[in-house]
Amino acid sequence: MLIFTIRRLLLAIPTLLFISFIIFLVVTLAPSDPTANLPLTIPPEVKQKIRESLGLGQPLPVRYFKWLWQFVYIEPAHYLNQAFGFSIDTGQRILSWQTRSPVMDIISQRMPQTLWVVGTSYVVAILIAVPIGVISAYKQYSWFDQIGTFISMIGFSVPTFFTGVLLIVIFSVHLGWFPSIYDTTHSVTDWDSFVVQVKQMIMPTFVLALANAAQLSRFMRASMLDNLSQDYVRTARAKGLQEKTVLLVHVLRNSMIPVITVIALGIPNIFGSAIITEQVFKVNGIGQLLIIAIQGGDVPTVQTITFIFAILIVLFNLLADILYGVFDPRIRYD
């Protein structure tokens, strides 16, 4: 297993290099201009000078390798210097064109918001989806199953920007129960502020959880149905086990194998899928940062965030494969 993991990590390096290059090309060749948002009163020569000062005058390969060097050497070295007091010689860190501050710093400022909202929603989604999937499969075609299927279809097909706005209209505008804007400056210090935090998290969390749970519960149901009809379930019943044991120990454990993979693969996706929800609820997370950076033509920021997504996807793919081997004794990576 260890050798498999190391081999896969080594293989991930060329993959990621290739991805980074594609991202670089797509972002750089897009006809966006970082100076487009500047006031029209600034003369074109000055704008040209600004562009050159951002490094846009250099040839494409130079720009790519500069960014790559910054990402794989300067940023980690800087982190090591800060964390352990090393004094590795570093150069210029990746700077956002919009704010002129290091992109990594902005990301680490924004990460907690995204992790709180998105992470919680994913946990909630799993907690909802697994029981629904189990019961739907166990009582296939029952009322519970039909309703579960219907809600899943809604979760699947209705986009988050619609459910989000709908919830805001109902619960913020009409009922006034929850705030429509997520206050990122709010800090939890005592019980009351904790309640406020929970209140402002409920709607974005629910919107994301609905979308994720819809998909997961379908996987769970299908996987349970697959296993419920297997012979070993009949064996378990013939052993005279309680129905609860048959279902939760035998069937559920086997059914979780593919579902865990899906869950692991879905984790990097939630960062991407949260972009719209963060925008709707004004959560100052990674997704919102990405949107602003795209609008502002902020190439280093867009490139860095997108590449981090790519790394997450590659890593969680690997994690899914490893988990498969851990949970399914029939799979061996030797």
Partner: protein, 335 residues
Amino acid sequence: MPETAIAAPEALLRVEDLKIHFPIYDGLFRRKVGDVKAVDGVSFEIKRGETLGLVGESGCGKSTTGRAVLRLYDPTAGAVNFEDRDIASLPANEMRAMRPRMQMIFQDPQASLNPRMTVGAIIAEPLMEHTKMSAGERKDKVAELLDQVGLSRDFINRFPHEFSGGQRQRIGIARALALDPDLIVCDEPIAALDVSIQAQVVNLLEDLQHRLGLTYLFISHDLSMVRHIADRVAVMYLGKIMELAPMGKLFASPRHPYTQALLSAVPVADPKIEANRKRVILTGDVPSPANPPEGCVFCTRCPLAKKTNDKRCFTIPPEWREIEQDQFVACHLAE
């Protein structure tokens, strides 16, 4: 169909007029439109220590009967008396308490073992559920069971997929034996195995029967294997028993035309005899159990019914009659 015979006192299992119908739902609103009559009025009994062979072609309801005997299906009608206790109508909890007495060996040794459990866990699980053994005692018992079925004790921590088909079936047998059952339903235990392994497993089953005094319901479509292991044989066709007789009588003088056809399909090892042997070739397909023929279920393919063109065959279900001592047959024409 009337009851098979007068219940002998030593009968361990007495099945009376067992019916298992699976509903068919169809149409826009999934209304019930009919039944698949998988088992339709089956009666037999098994004496303690005896092996009853249950044979018939695919889809005739043998496995369904076997599963219903253990209440893995709920019977639509009829009784399954295990030591004079009707388990067909027991509440789920009392049924569960009865399970240690009756076990099953399944057809597919790969699919019937939980892939995520080790051999030790698979065999020990029923002990955990039904006995108060300590972990150490359980481990000893599992090791003893592995010995009994001829597997090494070192296999205890391995997973089912690491074994060959024959070994897996041995694990299945050890699992079935774990609670010292009286009755074991063997649901085609050798059908999924290599021919070279089949004899081993059948001999193991025989050996265990002698040592532990087990009673078997041995379901198979392999007539030569049934001949080897069974004391009495019941022949099923389309959810009904056609003929029930002691093994010797059935193979020496089959009375039902279906039994005759089945037996004539078994090849003879001598090529001279084989070349001149007259075979009864059945024509046509087995009718759908959702829509069985009127009269005798076998009438659509019965050579005798075709030859004599007897009206009774096509209109009246045949009586279950004792044609000779201990030999029962459901046929109007059999003599």
